[in-house]
Chain length 444, copies 2
């Protein structure tokens, strides 16, 4: 069976984020920081968060239920279900088991897969696992379903504006409009303490911001190197950013995405690749002999490479930035919310194009991989995915407020679902044994 | 490439458990319970645990390092590394990233895979993922490596004697002595609060012992039903326990394994399968019209089915029980420590045999699957796996004591490695930022 399946990839997507958010401009005023620190310094516009009636489980119930409904997929047709998340509400019970409630109702409990965990990388791990399953001899002909769900919340201080919340559901199978180029893949995995969550009772991570940024950029370099090597091995020619129509990055904040793309251009410069024109070559030539460490430290290189990269950034990266700038860092969902932005913006124009994806999770785990896109067939088509996700409407119909609990038990939520759309799942109660109960908002 | 690989499965195994343990007889005295409560009631002999110098990370470092060394595998030849565990020391950073230290030294960071989590099922999920990778188009020809690592610790009370600790490492690739029968697999996944860890600051789970046992037995039934259906679909004949030489269960305590095998026999009886002789048929006939719920409640059925199952239990299950009885419940490693017992006991006699495996994780996730074994080629042979694991010596050279910390920071361990064998990794320090440091005991 393994040899019969072709074009395995993503057939359908749905994105859910809370209807509640805070403007970064308002947060600048609230935090008493200089104007522009979050909007220009980090490049962020707005940040989504969960009120007391939503959490990562309710968001994922909403995304899964909506995907099945809107693409008319029978819950019995799901043979694998897996979740990527780094928001831990229980240290043993998988988020996937909560989602089983949707499938148990339909008599389907024969569904493989659990949760994949490593910071923001878990969603990519789950997606790879699902694709591999479809290509393996254990595939039973049904669809796979991958959920990325996270709520990012930080302690007061410089990282606070880099929160966010969202769930993304992706249906996986053969003959997909979004096809994995599985041979072209470069990973970089290492032991690092850049961002971690060792204080188990706290919702907040321990973050070394500077180290985390350099781990991220070093991973961009290492993965790009592996990716280029594999491309050259299988395609017999040199790869440059010109060979990808769009490049999608894990997006904790937009400024890092700008830096990362500039870093790819610097790599292309060092490799003497065709994406670098004479003008760029001249501007970057003062940096041709930096050691690798110096290159991460040099503010001048950062500035010049971003200048040089600007025209290609606007073309190849900017169309991927809408949702991450509007909802914030959504950890495992971040890369796929950037990808969703691209589908929202470009829809069927993406047919025939290669998209490069860069996934990063602190700790650390990183992979660069690529998709080849085609229009697909309704309902599994790029234009229908854009229509179902309906990003513009979702972004427009948001409100502002903030309340929050973590790791608590024995409480009933406000049950205030006035801001939630019909069909949205919400948390009603956490009982004295920490058991969590959810309901679905049925009507207005 | 996917179509070229054959006989994908487990090439090599290593097991590590702490040299420190407590006899269940001694625990009965200490806890002031009736004699035989743990040894006969639970069917357990002994329980392994970590002192302050060992934890799930050090144990997995030890198992991986030992496997690579003893089977002479170059760390550069590993292309995927994944971990199953439910012992959370960090809510974001994967255990896999700690293991990367071994590979970074050799310049290999292009290694896919992260951690898989759902209670005791995570190891099976990791193993399936690894096998699927080898069969997928993204396989790059290198080996996969799967680690199951856990330390089970319970609050005072009836569950305390069901603790344990171990790490198991398994090398995955084609042409293996332990081959997956990937078409024959039945899963049962559902939402349950039988055992979970919602109190994030506590090392102890919340356990509903009675519910957990019935969830386990219901999962045995559901998975066996799916497995039999798939067998009949692909093999065109009825399956019974006679079609498997040995049956290996996830083993939180031995008594549950006895009950589970009896449950399979009861299923065979209801299905009128050939494993049930006339005598057994007669003894079980009073129970032929029980509803499914009644069948879980009936003490008489439990007793009679265990009597009926006894001869086949001794033949097909007892050889798998040594290590779980001696080291206790090792969560994700439990099923594979039972399988390791079988290899230890039967070695090359297993050639040509089918082994049924039943994996269970609370919350819940369960799968029944099977292996077909062959002797393999040195160093990846059944006899060499038994020699490397060296179970008898490891069990014999143990000591008794107990100390313990969890979720603490800013301390130096005793660094007392007197009880550890050379080559064992141990925890030296957790600094004020919760960063964990390990060292390898180099000589006596």
């Amino acid at each position: 069976m393994a040899s019969q399946v072709k074009n395995v990839g993503i057939l359908a997507m749905e994105i859910y984020f809370p209807p509640t958010c805070v403007q970064q401009e308002a947060l600048e005023v609230h935090d008493g920081v200089s104007k522009g620190k979050y909007t220009i310094g980090l490049g962020q516009d707005c940040m989504a968060f969960c009120t007391d009636v939503e959490d990562i489980i309710s968001m994922s119930l909403t995304a899964v239920s909506s995907l099945l409904e809107k693409y008319n997929v029978d819950p019995k047709q799901i043979g694998r279900l897996e979740v990527g998340s780094e928001t831990v509400l229980d240290k043993s019970k998988a988020i996937k088991t909560f989602l089983m409630q949707i499938f148990e109702e339909h008599g389907n409990t024969d569904i493989e897969g659990v949760d994949s965990t490593n910071a923001c990388y878990g969603g990519t791990a789950a997606l790879f696992n699902c694709v591999n399953w479809v290509e393996s001899s254990s595939w039973d002909g049904r669809y796979g379903l991958v959920i990325c769900t996270d709520s990012a919340v930080y302690a007061e201080g410089p990282a606070r504006p880099t929160g966010g919340a969202a769930s993304i559901a992706m249906l996986v199978g053969p003959d997909a409009p979004i096809v994995f180029e599985s041979k072209l893949r470069g990973s970089h995995m290492a032991h690092a303490y850049d961002f971690y969550k060792p204080n188990l009772a706290s919702e907040y991570p321990v973050v070394d911001g500077k180290l985390s940024q350099s781990c991220y950029l070093m991973s961009v370099d290492a993965c790009y190197k592996h990716y280029c090597n594999k491309y050259e091995k299988f395609e017999g020619k040199q790869f440059s950013v010109d060979d990808a129509e769009y490049i999608v990055f894990h997006s904790p904040y937009n400024k890092l995405v700008q830096k990362s793309f500039a870093r790819l251009m610097y790599n292309d410069f060092l490799r003497n690749a065709r994406s670098i024109n004479e003008d760029a070559k001249e501007k970057l030539s003062p940096f041709s002999n930096l050691s690798i460490d110096e290159s991460y430290q040099s503010r001048d290189l950062e500035k010049v490479s971003q200048q040089v990269a600007k025209p290609l950034y606007d073309k190849k990266v900017q169309p991927t930035t809408l949702i991450p700038k509007q909802i914030g860092n959504t950890y495992t969902a971040s890369l796929y919310s950037a990808f969703a932005s691209l589908i929202h913006n470009k829809q069927s124009e993406l047919t025939g194009k290669r998209i490069i994806m860069f996934s990063y999770g602190s700790g650390l785990a990183a992979t660069m991989f690529s998709f080849r896109l085609n229009e697909g067939q309704h309902p599994f088509s790029l234009s229908n995915i854009a229509a179902v996700m309906n990003v513009a409407d979702k972004l427009e119909s948001r409100h502002e407020l903030m309340e929050h609990r973590y790791g608590a038990k024995d409480f009933v939520t406000s049950n205030d679902t006035s801001l939630l759309a019909p069909g949205t799942y919400y948390l009603t109660e956490v009982d004295s044994s920490y058991r969590r109960f959810y309901a679905k908002k049925t009507c207005k």
